[in-house]
């Protein structure tokens, strides 16, 4: 029987003793009669990285999209800092959701805008009025905050570079800086490294883990690489056919658990 060697743990400091910030309970969702989420429960805590693992179609991305409001769950509750988001409407909901930032697989920067302008755009949720419609009117304070965010992700020297000229890894770092400029306390990353080469993927995951621990952020990342989860995450949620198969410490993500998460066509098996 072949065994998988666990990759070495990245040298992250121990996560701070952070409190729970988001509770997701009994999330269900179906598309065209096919259940894609079936009673998903999990909790995100400050200063901690949760990796969502599972085969394609297991419900990882849909979970994050439901939390972000990009998909509407059929049932379940999402509580952010003690507030049930389903009880909020309009601007209250937008304001509450601005505490949750998202990093996308396709990065979604505006290529014609500079890295600095893209990062400033993360603050749009708290800017209002005519001065917020163009980067020309961004305040010096906002630009300085954005520069600090860029420096935090190691991209300060590329501040005035057009986003379209950055490499995939650099652009994803800028997207993380945009999330920091949003001042969010929860960072959801939907396959943040799927489009990156192994080295850039390692760097971006290390950055997310470092930010979670140092800035006390709650980070949830959908990953397709168990070794990255083992190196950088604190806990793992493994999904199979929309149900949680495993939830716990990374030490439980051994070879047999990985095999269970990635068994093809489990429903038919």
């Amino acid at each position: 029987m072949t065994t998988l060697r666990l990759p070495d743990r990245a040298p992250h400091p121990a996560p701070p003793a952070g409190g729970e910030i988001m509770q997701v309970r009994n999330l269900t969702k179906s598309f065209g009669g096919r259940t894609v989420l079936d009673g998903v429960d999990f909790t995100l805590s400050r200063g901690s990285v949760v990796a969502f693992l599972g085969a394609n179609g297991s419900g990882k991305s849909t979970t994050l999209k439901c939390v972000m409001g990009l998909e509407t769950p059929e049932s379940g509750s999402i509580t952010l800092e003690g507030t049930d988001l389903s009880t909020l409407r309009g601007t209250e909901l937008v304001r509450a959701r601005s505490g949750v930032a998202m990093v996308f697989q396709k990065i979604h920067l505006v290529p014609r805008r500079t890295a600095l302008e893209n990062v400033c755009a993360g603050a749009l949720g708290r800017l209002r009025g005519p001065a917020s419609v163009s980067p020309m009117f961004f305040s010096r304070e906002l630009k300085e905050e954005a520069m600090a965010a860029l420096a935090r992700v190691g991209m300060a020297d590329r501040a005035h570079e057009k986003a379209g000229r950055l490499s995939g890894g650099q652009a994803q770092r800028v997207a993380v800086a945009r999330a920091l400029c949003q001042r969010a306390s929860v960072l959801l990353a939907d396959e943040p490294v799927s489009a990156l080469d192994p080295r850039a993927a390692e760097e971006v995951m290390a950055l997310l883990a470092e930010l979670a621990h140092a800035e006390n952020l709650a980070v949830a990342a959908v990953l397709h690489q168990p070794d990255l989860a083992l190196r950088h995450a604190d806990t793992v949620i493994g999904l199979v056919d929309g149900r949680i198969e495993y939830s716990g410490d990374i030490s439980g993500l051994d070879a047999s658990m990985q095999a269970r998460l990635y068994t093809p066509n489990r429903a038919a098996a």
Partner: protein, 272 residues
């Protein structure tokens, strides 16, 4: 002896007969439509042959072109400049209206379904009415001259450019807009910080194309009294001064080439 190359019988194409019948039917419809079109437009090659004499007489009158500076060339250059200004103003002054209607008429940026339908209807109206009809209306309203031509182009160009811009916004990647929406950006902020910058390259390209078209359109508008070189060409034809008309057409040709080259140069510089 070489190893035989493996082969596999090709499965029959599903519904192949139906596909061939569809293609033949489409060709038949195409031919029938053209027969009706040829009859409806009195299209006769023989008329070209019989009219060759008239054409030769016209060319004999037109060449050599009259290059008299005082009476032909200077007025032609002056009127061509007016034509250029009509095309320029007709394009640039339609930007605000075209942009507003494009944002409202694009599925990715419209604030409401009703606004979307209404904006589409307005754009369709401005696009459906030809610029020459607008010119006739404005000549009646504000009198003969280039101002009527500018107004006519503003109206028609709003319709065309608004639709082209709306479609280009719908075709661009909506991801950045979605990313800003998740960050709490308002609808207006999503438009100004994502949708518009994402489509900016195409916007500039289409704007330059429309400028090119509008300069040529403003020539025709002159024929109905909306000023510019078109008006002079019309006067030359009516007074049988075909040699003067030939000079005016050469001046127009130079203008069109210059505008085309300028447009290409700007597009290359902006990488659009």
């Amino acid at each position: 002896m070489s190893t035989p190359v493996p082969t596999l019988s090709v499965p029959p194409v599903p519904r192949a007969g139906w596909r061939i019948a569809s293609i033949l039917a489409a060709i038949a419809v195409f031919i029938v439509l053209h027969v009706f079109a040829l009859r409806g437009t009195d299209f006769e090659v023989s008329a070209l042959v019989t009219g060759a004499e008239g054409m030769a007489s016209f060319l004999a009158d037109a060449f050599p072109p009259d290059l008299d500076w005082e009476s032909v060339l200077a007025p032609a250059l002056k009127a061509t400049t007016v034509t250029l200004w009509i095309g320029l103003l007709g394009t640039t002054l339609s930007i605000p209206t075209a942009l507003l209607l494009a944002v409202f008429a694009s599925r990715t940026t419209t604030p409401h379904r009703v606004v979307y339908q209404l904006s589409r209807a307005i754009l369709s109206f401005f696009r459906a009415v030809p610029d020459i009809v607008f010119a006739l209306i404005f000549v009646t309203a504000v009198g003969l001259g280039p101002f009527a031509g500018v107004l006519a182009l503003i109206c028609h160009n709003t319709g065309v450019m608004g639709k082209l811009w709306a479609e280009s916004m719908e075709e661009t990647d909506a991801g950045p807009q979605q990313a800003l929406a998740t960050a709490g950006a308002s609808r207006l902020q999503q438009v100004t910080h994502a949708a518009l910058p994402m489509a900016l390259g195409q916007f500039v390209g289409l704007l330059l194309y429309r400028f090119d078209v509008n300069v040529r359109s403003s020539l025709v508008l002159g024929l109905v009294g909306a000023g510019g070189i078109g008006l002079l060409i019309n006067q030359s034809i009516k007074s049988f001064r075909f040699d003067a008309m030939a000079t005016q057409i050469v001046v127009v040709l130079v203008l069109i080439i210059l505008v085309d080259q300028l447009s290409s140069f700007i597009r290359r510089r902006l990488e659009v």
